[in-house]
Structure formats: structure tokens, C-alpha cells
């Protein structure tokens, strides 16, 4: 038919007169509606195309609904398809009109041509009108039993669509069990695959509602089903293979020979041309061998080659998706990839998101044998046109320096950066030199010589300026001009906008004063005066503190401000190992790309209109930071007497900026907490997010080992529980039915608890240590359900608890029933405190 381009384009210029155009169309459609004259179908096709072209460019053509339906009485499949398309688009907004179409769609579901049956069924299920679901059940039922696989394939997905419109209708019609039967018996693999998709979705959604759902979900990963799918895997389409492989990762084989059988069967999948299949297979291999350390290592070696191939083929986007996974593996086992470092070299034209990952991998795989080459390569990138990448490269060099023992050559490179005379290069190199000096004080001589040549006027970025000032204070005895440079900086106190820099300036001038008192005295006076008058609370407080401690006793002040320092041995990692394990478990999903577990970004209840996302996100970040600071300070005071205040401030500054590499080890936990908060703040950018934010913060305060937890239980009736309590399930059930709910509440869980709750078992063991025993548990992320019981010490009074935890919202719904109602409050407090300690080592 080859419609000329103009025929579709022509309506556009005449858009202003859209109304008349529409009524014109209406008339024409009417004219053809009843006609059976030869050639009518061709004219109808042109008309339909016109209607659909209007629809596509956003003109509302719903007023033609009646006419379109009238014209749909045709045997021409091309027309039918266009008509279905039209109906599908407008039915949802015109539920009354949609009723008109039910008739002809239902009739078409019994057409002789299987293709029409399938298409009609698909359209029928896509109407998405809740009050029409009753019309779906019949056609779906016969569709599932259709002799043609195309119809069955469509019907299976139709069941899933029905489930989303009306779950109860779908369950009541017993469709899930029909799907299960089809999945295990159908000859067409696409039907099987669709059954699998549908069942997985239905049972996950049902998990919190019905008793049988968890059982059915377990059944999907039972041995017979898995073996059945494995044996047919080569018949599946590449997409369905991904689905099946993903299912297999959840299967728990009974012994190691079974594991090897599965891996042998799937090994050739690693040579599949579709990268998604390869990645899915990689996941199976990694998950199956998790408990077998040496085999797991061999798996890394085996999957390396296919992954490296995938990274270098396909579009940058595909490459990025694979690279993110490779990145995860490299971070887990850098030594496996240390000889492949050349694969992580950046090409000039690669997009920055690819380069950034590659830089991180280059940093991770650097070891004694390849460091020289990697650093040489990284230095090439420092001159890159893309400034953020150039900066990342410099930081990468610095990170490698901090990992290595042989830093000789690297220090020279870093110092060369300082001499490159580009502002951003200087800035980053300064920060690195500072970190390097904290770890390797022995290099101070070489570094200081170069740093001394840098004019502070050329350094503008707060972090770099702070680093320079720190070095000026720390090494003021070796740097001739130190007091004078500090003095000139203090003179410009009012022009210094960053509080971080002003804080550093205060500390540096103090340190300098103890080393070279006569030269610094006047500068110190000026600094303290400016500091006390500063509007920033922290700066003000610190200046006042220095002033008072100096007045009290100068030698004490020196001990406080400038004690001998230990070199920092290890710089902390920002992500906890639990979080990393969670991400690893969710291999081959978005979690790996976002580098955070899914509960942090999949949160349907907290999805807001995206228009406001950014502002709210920013707001809650601010709050999150405020919440963290106190807890972190307490932490530092407790544990961290070795570091100077200056360094503590650095810690705080850097952790707030989420920077990874200059965070002292001790505060890793709190840094992690602040990170998660910030991240969750970003991912829950809604008004609801605010309240959640606040509760997060409080949980952290409680959770981070502060002595605040014990003050929660009210002291009077100390309830003691029997550690060896026993209760058989039937008694539990009976009691649960009989007793009224004594208490029902919603508790918030800390991020650590969520991270630890990978499987129900983790919580069971924890609660058991608090004499609260589990009688039944189930569910899978994000929804877990537990039944606990406890017994009063030396009494037979029982407490029964139903606890439903949703990990994505970090909430636990707790219902408590008790034999002795008077003590249920005390028990509830105990339960809450036990739960709040979960996940905290």
C-alpha cells in the first residue's frame, strides 16, 4: 500500500482547523461504516491511519470512538489492528465507551484465525477498565486452552494484566494454577516463559496477602521445576533464557555435584551473542558457588573473558551496563583482574560514565607489578579535555599511592601535577598530597619543598585551600614563609566564604604559633579575634575554645592542638560490607548500576511528582546532615583520641561531602550511616520522605552504639523472659485465635537492620539471643513476616507477636498478644529494644 509520506504529514499544517477536520473524518467514517462495497477497506485504512496519526501527535480523537467501533466490523486484519490500537488508547479515559467495544472484541476472541483471536484477547486485556473485568474471565479461560500457541502466549500475559486490574478476580478464577499447569506442560517455550513471568509477579505481589503465595513461590524454585526449565533452556528465546537463568540463581542445590551439573549444562551460555544471557549466566555461576571458596575463584577466572569481550562490544550504553557489573566484580576481587588492567584503559572518545568506572577499576587492580604502567596511563588522562575526568584521574593516582607501599615514583608524579599550573590539577593534587602526608609522614621533606612554591592565591577551591592550610600549619617549621602566608590569609578573613577553610586556618595558625611563636603571635591574635566575631557557630566556638585554653595553660593547649600524631594506616571504605553483599546478591539489576541495594531506590509508597523531586531532595539532604553530626561527634570523642581536632573536622567535612578517600577508619560506621541517609533522601524525594528522614536520624542515634538505647525501657516492672521457652505450633495457633490484640504498633528499622535482613533466618537468630523465639517466618525482600513467641521467666505466661517487616519502607508492623495483658507493655518495650539492636554488630 506504501502510503506516501505526505499523506500523513499533510494533516499537520491544517491543525488549527482540527475541529472541522475531525468532523470531516467523522462523516467519512460514518459513510463507510455500513458499506461493504469493494475497495472500501482501502479507503478505511487511509482514514484509520489518519486517525492514528492524530492520536500519535497528541490530538484528542476520542470523539470518533463510536464511529471507529462501527467501522470495526470488518474481516480486514490491517483495519482490525489499527482499530484495536485506537480502542486500547482511549478505553481507559472513556470507560463507558469501552463497553461498546467489548462486544466485538469478545466476538473476535472466537474468530477462526488464531492471530485475530490473539490480537482481540490482547486488546481486551489492555482496556484496563476495572468494571469490565467480568468480561475478561471467559475469553482468558478459553485463550489459555487455545490450540494455537500465539493465543496462549497472549492469554498468559492477559492473566497478569487482569491480576493488575483486579487481583481478586484473577485469583478467584483460579488462573494461577492454570498458568502453573501450562508452564510445566506447554510445548511452546514462549508460553512457558510468559507463565513464569506472570507467576513470579503474581506470587510476589500476593506474598503479603495470602498464605499460599510464599509456598507457591517456593514451588517455582523447587527441583522439578528448575530441572524441567534447565533441560529446555536452549529452546527458549534469548529473553526468556534471561528469565529462566534469573530464576535458577534462587535455587539452592542439595550438594556440590548438583552445582557442577548445572554449571556444566549452562557453560555454553557464556558464549551466547546476547550479553544479557551471558550476564545472567555469570550470576548463576557466582551465586551457586558462593559457599565454595575455591570454585568461586575458578568461576571468576572463567567468566572474566566473556565479560571483557562484552565490555568492548556493543553501544556505549550496553558496554556501560556490563562494565558496571565488571566493576562490582573487580572491586570484590581485584587480584583476579590485575593482569587485565589494559582492558580498563580509557579511549579518547568514550563517554565519561564509562571512563569514570574504568578509572575506579584501574585504581582497584593496581598492584606491585602493574602500578608503574597504570600510573603512567593515568597521568596521560590528567591532561584530558574533560575536566571532571582529568580530576578523577589525578585522584586515582593518589588513591593508588595510598594503597601501595612503594610510593616513590608516584609521589614524583603527584608533585609534577602541582607544577602543571592548571588550577583544577593543583587543587586535586594538593588534597592528595595532604592525604599522602597523613599516611607517609616520611615524605614530608620532598612534598613540602614543592608545596611551598604554590601561591595560595592560585588555590581557590575550599578543599584544596584547606589542605594547603593544613600543611602550612603542620609543617610550619619546615616552610619558611608559613607564618607570613597564614598571616596574609587571615588578613583576608572576611573574603573567605568557606567555614571549612576558616576552621583550618584557626587550627593551622595555632599549630604554627607553638612552633614559631614570635613570628606568629600577631597573626594568632588577629585570627582569634576574627574567629570569635565570626557568624559561623563552629568557627566562633573553636576560636573561643582556643582563646580560653590558651589563657588557661599554653602547654596544655599545645598538647590538645598539636600532639604527636600517628600516621593513618588505613583509609576507610564508604560502603559497609553488608551493603556490598546486598548489591552482589542483586547482580544483574539496577542495584549494581546505582551501587546501592534495591530497597534504597524502589519505594513505591514514597514516589512523588518528579517536578519537585530536586528541591525536596536537597531539603532532606540538609536535614540528614544535621541529624548525623551529633552522633558522629560522640563517636569520635569516644574512640578517637589520637586524631587532632583539625583532623576530626576534616573527617566531618569530608563525610558530609560524601567523599570516599580521606575518611579515617574509626568513623566509617557513621559515615556509612550518613551516606545511606543522604542517598535515601535522594531516592525518596517526597513530603512523606521528611518524616521518614527524621525517624531515620533518630534510629541512627540509637543505633550507633550510644548509651541511649537502655533509657527506652521504663524501669519499674523489669520483665524477664525464659530463654528456653517452648510452644508447639498448634497451641500457638489456638492462642493466636483466642487472644485479643493487646498492642499494635509500627516501628522503624535502622538501615543496618534492613541491610542485615537478607533472609528471615538472620532476624530469628538475633531475636533468639533476646529470648524471643520464632515459630514461623517467611517472605522475601521487601516483605517479611514473622511469628514470635516468648515466655515469662519461671511462669507459663506467653507473649505472641506477629511482625511484618517491609524492608523498602524500613517499617515493622508489630501486633502483640499476651496471656497476661498487664505486662504486654513491658514486653513490647523489650521486643522493640531487641529489634532495634538488630544489625548492629
Amino acid at each position: 500500500m506504501a502510503p506516501p509520506a505526505q499523506s500523513q504529514r499533510s494533516p499537520s499544517p491544517s491543525q488549527p482547523s482540527g475541529k472541522s477536520e475531525l468532523s470531516d473524518l467523522k462523516l467519512q467514517l460514518r459513510k463507510f461504516a455500513g458499506s461493504r462495497a469493494p475497495g472500501v477497506d482501502d479507503s478505511k485504512r487511509e482514514l484509520f491511519k489518519k486517525v492514528i496519526s492524530y492520536m500519535t501527535i497528541g490530538i484528542d480523537v476520542s470523539s470518533l470512538f463510536g464511529e471507529m467501533v462501527m467501522c470495526s466490523a470488518t474481516s480486514d486484519i490491517v483495519l482490525k489492528k489499527m482499530c484495536y490500537l485506537y480502542v486500547g488508547n482511549y478505553a481507559k479515559v472513556n470507560p463507558d465507551l469501552a463497553l461498546l467495544t467489548i462486544n466485538f472484541l469478545q466476538r473476535d476472541c472466537h474468530d477462526q484465525d488464531p492471530m485475530i483471536r490473539g490480537l482481540a484477547l490482547r486488546s481486551l486485556c489492555s482496556l484496563r477498565v476495572a468494571n469490565l473485568v467480568e468480561y475478561l474471565v471467559g475469553p482468558l479461560g478459553s485463550g489459555l486452552k487455545d490450540s494455537n500457541s500465539y493465543v496462549r502466549m497472549v492469554a498468559v500475559i492477559g492473566v497478569l494484566k487482569l491480576y493488575h486490574i483486579s487481583a481478586s478476580t484473577c485469583i478467584d478464577a483460579d488462573f494461577p494454577s492454570m498458568l502453573k499447569h501450562l508452564m510445566l506442560n506447554d510445548s511452546d517455550t514462549q508460553v512457558v516463559a510468559n507463565c513464569l513471568s506472570a507467576l513470579q509477579e503474581i506470587w510476589s505481589a500476593e506474598a503479603s496477602r495470602s498464605e499460599e503465595a510464599p509456598r507457591e513461590r517456593e514451588a517455582l524454585i523447587s527441583k522439578p521445576v528448575i530441572y524441567y526449565l534447565l533441560n529446555r533452556i536452549k529452546e527458549f528465546s534469548e529473553w526468556a533464557q534471561c528469565l529462566v537463568l534469573e530464576l535458577i540463581t534462587k535455587y539452592v542445590p542439595s550438594d556440590s555435584s548438583e552445582i557442577f551439573d548445572i554449571m556444566n549444562l549452562l557453560e555454553d551460555r557464556l558464549q551466547h551473542a546476547n550479553g544479557a544471557v551471558v550476564l545472567a549466566t555469570v550470576k548463576v555461576f557466582l551465586q551457586l558457588t558462593l559457599s565454595m571458596t575455591d570454585v568461586h575463584q575458578q568461576v571468576y577466572e572463567r567468566i572474566k573473558a566473556p565479560l571483557l569481550t562484552l565490555v568492548s562490544s556493543g553501544s556505549p550504553e550496553q558496554s556501560y551496563a556490563v562494565l558496571s557489573h565488571l566493576h562490582l566484580l573487580v572491586m570484590r576481587a581485584p587480584y583476579v583482574f590485575s593482569s587485565d588492567y589494559k582492558h580498563f584503559y580509557c579511549q579518547y572518545n568514550e563517554p565519561s560514565y564509562v571512563k569514570r568506572l574504568k578509572l575506579e577499576m584501574l585504581t582497584a587492580v593496581a598492584n606491585e607489578s602493574n602500578t608503574y604502567e597504570i600510573v603512567t596511563e593515568l597521568c596521560e588522562y590528567a591532561a584530558n579535555v574533560d575536566i571532571p575526568i582529568a580530576r578523577e584521574s589525578i585522584r586515582a593516582v593518589g588513591k593508588i599511592a595510598l594503597q601501595q607501599y612503594d610510593v616513590n615514583a608516584i609521589v614524583d608524579r603527584l608533585l609534577q601535577f602541582l607544577e602543571m599550573d592548571k588550577d583544577y590539577v593543583t587543587a586535586d593534587a594538593l588534597v592528595l598530597v595532604k592525604d599522602l602526608l597523613r599516611k607517609y609522614p616520611q615524605w614530608s621533606h620532598d612534598c613540602i619543598a614543592v608545596v611551598g612554591n604554590i601561591s595560595s592565591k592560585n588555590v581557590q577551591e575550599p578543599k584544596a585551600k584547606a589542605a594547603l592550610i593544613w600543611m602550612l600549619g603542620e609543617y610550619s617549621q619546615d616552610m619558611q614563609d608559613a607564618p607570613y602566608i597564614l598571616e596574609s590569609l587571615i588578613e583576608n578573613w572576611d573574603e573567605e566564604h568557606s567555614a571549612e577553610v576558616r576552621l583550618h586556618l584557626l587550627t593551622a595558625v595555632m599549630k604554627c604559633f607553638f612552633k614559631r611563636p614570635p613570628e606568629t603571635q600577631s597573626a594568632l591574635g588577629a585570627a582569634l579575634a576574627a574567629g570569635v566575631a565570626d557568624f559561623h557557630q563552629d568557627v566562633h566556638d573553636r576560636a573561643l575554645f582556643y582563646h580560653r585554653i590558651l589563657r588557661y595553660n599554653v602547654s596544655v593547649a599545645e598538647r590538645v592542638v598539636n600532639p604527636p600524631k600517628q600516621a593513618v594506616s588505613v583509609f576507610a571504605d564508604t560502603q559497609s560490607s553488608e551493603i556490598k553483599d546486598r548489591i552482589f546478591e542483586e547482580f544483574n539489576s539496577l542495584s549494581v548500576l546505582y551501587q546501592k541495594p534495591s530497597y534504597m531506590f524502589i519505594d513505591k509508597e514514597h514516589r512523588g511528582p518528579p517536578e519537585f523531586a530536586d528541591e525536596l531532595g536537597n531539603l532532606s539532604i540538609g536535614e540528614a546532615e544535621d541529624n548525623v553530626v551529633p552522633s558522629q561527634r560522640v563517636e569520635e570523642n569516644d574512640k578517637d583520641l589520637l586524631l587532632t581536632t583539625a583532623e576530626k573536622e576534616e573527617t566531618r567535612g569530608s563525610s558530609n561531602n560524601g567523599s570516599a578517600y580521606n575518611v579515617p577508619y574509626d568513623s566509617a560506621a557513621s559515615v556509612f550511616a550518613s551516606q545511606t541517609q543522604i542517598e535515601s533522601a535522594i531516592s525518596n524525594p517526597t513530603t512523606a520522605g521528611h518524616s521518614q528522614q527524621a525517624s531515620f536520624g533518630i534510629d541512627d542515634l540509637l543505633g550507633l552504639g550510644m548509651p541511649a538505647v537502655p533509657d527506652a525501657p521504663p524501669s519499674p516492672p523489669q520483665l524477664k523472659l525464659n530463654a528456653k521457652a517452648a510452644l508447639d505450633p498448634s497451641t500457638f495457633q489456638q492462642k493466636w485465635r483466642q487472644l485479643p490484640v493487646a498492642l499494635s504498633q509500627e516501628l522503624s528499622l535502622s538501615p543496618q537492620a534492613i541491610a542485615a535482613l537478607t533472609a528471615p533466618q538472620a532476624l530469628l537468630r538475633h531475636m533468639q539471643s533476646h529470648s524471643i523465639h520464632c515459630i514461623a517466618s517467611g517472605g522475601q525482600s521487601p516483605n517479611f513476616k514473622f511469628f514470635f513467641f516468648a515466655q515469662k521467666y519461671k511462669e507459663s505466661s506467653n507473649y505472641l507477636v506477629e511482625c511484618i517487616i517491609n524492608t523498602s519502607s524500613a517499617k515493622a508492623q508489630v501486633k502483640i498478644k499476651a496471656d497476661d495483658q498487664s505486662t504486654s507493655q513491658a514486653f513490647s518495650t523489650l521486643f522493640e529494644s531487641a529489634l532495634s539492636k538488630f544489625g548492629i554488630p
Binding site: D268, A280, Q318, A383
Partner: protein, 395 residues
């Protein structure tokens, strides 16, 4: 859950929706506005192809002047989603006659709707194989009949990529068997036939992937590639080699900056393949600073000119015999600018070429057997060609 896409959008560069398909109701209809506002209208566009906005994830790809955006609300399989987009585009191209751009979409939207309905249902990928789809698609592409995507086989080598490409064009539905001079294959053969492996060059492949049609079980047991080819041209296998790759060219650049307004560029390109062979379509792009004002060239072969749009000296040699070394020497005059204090960061020299009858990897087809049941004669033909993938030389 492999994909479970909630919606797919085709947008033009301005952000207008060309075609969209909403598969699920779990994302709002304003998702495309979110994409426009938070990705297209910001500098974020190039920073990452996967973004999380307002509880949904957006995967997007630009193909010619069209953005294809997939929106999901679940923790989806990204690799699968991108592969799906790539495959879908290849499918569209085959219907549109090779081109995929805004015009092609506008001319074919009914067909695209049909295809989108068949290849994905409720967000789950369904059938993308052209043979199956033929049964269900009623519309014809506007541009031209069915043709398939070209085959090429990149072999990345550290920072260079050279493409070896073999074309096999069989006819009908024959059974084919292909033997290569790769190490594992030869070892296996000598093992099976219990005779020592022939001396001669064997190639060690780091990794191989195969088209769906290849019998992988047989490859693993016999190490020969046996397959029943689908219609049209296709990419049979892809391999990767890092050791012992013969690069066909060596580039020796010397670039001198003479003061602030003058540069001297000398580039010598040596062809190191056999004297009887020759390379075709050689293009060498030598970057020069933005403020280039005037250039003058001397070349011993081919033609050169300054292309201001890409800030490069472009040197083209249509036929480049082996064992020769043409040179280019150029003088570049620069506009002196007071503001430009930053020194020029030298981007790498890029090179494009094709060398017929040459394989950089050294991989050879030892045999190609065809079993044709219908009994007509088949003509087997093997063509070797090496194409530059991404060939960059730092200077």
C-alpha cells in the same frame, strides 16, 4: 525480572514524542515530561544512560536523531533492556530499509505500533525474531523490503581495535561447518584423529561468542562451528584476541609547537602488511587546535585538507599499497589569542581503513563444508577483510 518495562518512548531531539507505548500503569503519564525536564534540558544528558528520577528509572539511548527511552519502576535488568532496544532498532531498520531516524519513524508509525505490540507484552520482551514476526505483521515498511544488518567482528586489543570480518553468504537452509586455525580447535582435531598437529600458525582466542544459530554443544565437544544459517547476512561469531595481533599500520607523528602561532606537523604512516596487498579507504585524522587559521600541506600520497568542523587535518589515501610509507608534512598557523592561556591538550590521531585479504588476528578459515539436502550445487566463498574499529595513536 528481566525488563518489565512500564513504557517506551521515541523522542526527537527537541523532546517531542514521536511514538510511545505504555505497557503498565505503574508509572505516571508525565514520565516523558520528567525525562525532558531532568535529563534532556540539563547537562545530565551525556553523563549517564541510566537515571533515577521520582521513583522510576530511565534507560535511554540516542540513535541517529531519536532518543529511545525505557521507563521502569522495578529493579530491572539493565543489560537486557539495552540489548532489547538495540535488537528492536535493528528490527525496525530491517523493516524501514536500513535507516532509523525521525523521518523513518514518522513514516512508519503504524508499523512501529504493530511491532511494539508484538515484541513486548506488558513490559516483557516477546518475540524479536524476524521470521516469527513475518507471520504477525501486516504493515510493510515504507522505505524498502527486508534486508539485514551488516556483519562485523571487532577485535579489541588494549587500546586499539581492528576489525576482522568474514562474510559467509549461503543460500537456502543448508547445514554448515566451519573450521578455523585457532589453537583449541586444532588441538582437538589432532586429538580426535590421533595425529600430531600440523606445524604452522595457530591462534589463541581469548574469547568467542556465537550467533544463536550455532550449535554450542557441538562447539564445546568438537570445537568446530556448525550451524544452520538464518536468512540474510548475519554475524556468525565474534572473537577477542590480545596476544600477537599484527597491526597493519604504524603511525609516527611528530608535532612541534613553534611559538604561540605556528605548528609543524609531520606524520609518517608505514604499512607493514605484504607488498602485494593494499589497504582501501584510508583516512587519517590529525587533530589541530581550535584556533587554527591557515594550513599548508605536502603529502607524498593521497590528498589532505583542513576540516574546521572537527578541528582536524584529514588525510585520505584511497589505495594504500603494502610496505610503503607515505608522509604528510603540514604547517599550521594559529590565531594568537590573549585569553587562551591553557595549553592545547593533544587528542589522539584517528585512523580508518580496510585491508582486504589481511587478518590482523591471523585467524584463517581452514574449511567450510556445506551439506545441502535439496541437492543443488553450492559455491563456498571466503573473504577476509580487516577494518579499523577504533584505531587511535597518541601524539
Amino acid at each position: 525480572m528481566p525488563v518489565a518495562a512500564s513504557a517506551i518512548y521515541f523522542l526527537n531531539l527537541r523532546g517531542d514524542v514521536l511514538v510511545n507505548r505504555l505497557y503498565r500503569d505503574d508509572v505516571g503519564g508525565n514520565m516523558v515530561d520528567a525525562f525532558r525536564m531532568h535529563i534532556m534540558q540539563t547537562k545530565e544528558l551525556g553523563t549517564c544512560p541510566v537515571r533515577h528520577i521520582g521513583g522510576c528509572s530511565f534507560f535511554y539511548m540516542r540513535i541517529s536523531n531519536v532518543y529511545i527511552v525505557i521507563v521502569v519502576s522495578s529493579n530491572a535488568n539493565v543489560a537486557c533492556a539495552f540489548k532489547f532496544v538495540v535488537e528492536a532498532v535493528a528490527l525496525f531498520k530491517s523493516y524501514f530499509g536500513g535507516s532509523f531516524d525521525e523521518d523513518a519513524i514518522r513514516n512508519n508509525f503504524v508499523l512501529i505500533y504493530e511491532l511494539l505490540d508484538e515484541i513486548m507484552d506488558f513490559g516483557y520482551p516477546q518475540n524479536l525474531s524476524p521470521e516469527m514476526l513475518k507471520l504477525y505483521i501486516t504493515q510493510e515498511g515504507v522505505r524498502s523490503p527486508f534486508s539485514s544488518k551488516p556483519s562485523d567482528k571487532p577485535v579489541p586489543n588494549a587500546t586499539l581495535q581492528v576489525t576482522d570480518s568474514y562474510e559467509v553468504l549461503p543460500f537456502g537452509m543448508p547445514d554448515l561447518k566451519l573450521g578455523l586455525n585457532d589453537k583449541i580447535g586444532l588441538e582437538k582435531e589432532s586429538q580426535l584423529k590421533s595425529r600430531p598437529a600440523k606445524s604452522g600458525k595457530t591462534i589463541e582466542l581469548d574469547d568467542v561468542t556465537f550467533h544463536q544459530c550455532v550449535n554450542l554443544t557441538r562447539f564445546n565437544s568438537e570445537k568446530t562451528v556448525s550451524f544452520v544459517p538464518p536468512d540474510g547476512e548475519f554475524e556468525l561469531m565474534k572473537y577477542r584476541i590480545t596476544e600477537g595481533v599484527n597491526l597493519p599500520f604504524r603511525v609516527l607523528p611528530t608535532i612541534k609547537e613553534l611559538g604561540r602561532t605556528r605548528m609543524e606537523v609531520n606524520v609518517k604512516v608505514k604499512s607493514v602488511f605484504g607488498a602485494k596487498m593494499f589497504a582501501l579507504g584510508v583516512v587519517i585524522k590529525i587533530p589541530v587546535p581550535k584556533q587554527t587559521a591557515k594550513t599548508s600541506f605536502q603529502v607524498t600520497s593521497g590528498r589532505a585538507k583542513y576540516q574546521a568542523s572537527i578541528d582536524c587535518l584529514v588525510w585520505k589515501i584511497r589505495k594504500f599499497p603494502g610496505q610503503t610509507e607515505p608522509t604528510l608534512s603540514a604547517e599550521v598557523e594559529l590565531i594568537s589569542t590573549m585569553a587562551e592561556k591553557k595549553s592545547w591538550t593533544r587528542p589522539p590521531i584517528q585512523m580508518e581503513f580496510q585491508v582486504p585479504m589481511f587478518t590482523a588476528s591471523g585467524l584463517r578459515v581452514r574449511f567450510l563444508k556445506v551439506w545441502e539436502k535439496s541437492g543443488y550445487n553450492t559455491v563456498e566463498w571466503v573473504r577476509y577483510i580487516t577494518k579499523a574499529g577504533s584505531y587511535e595513536i597518541r601524539c
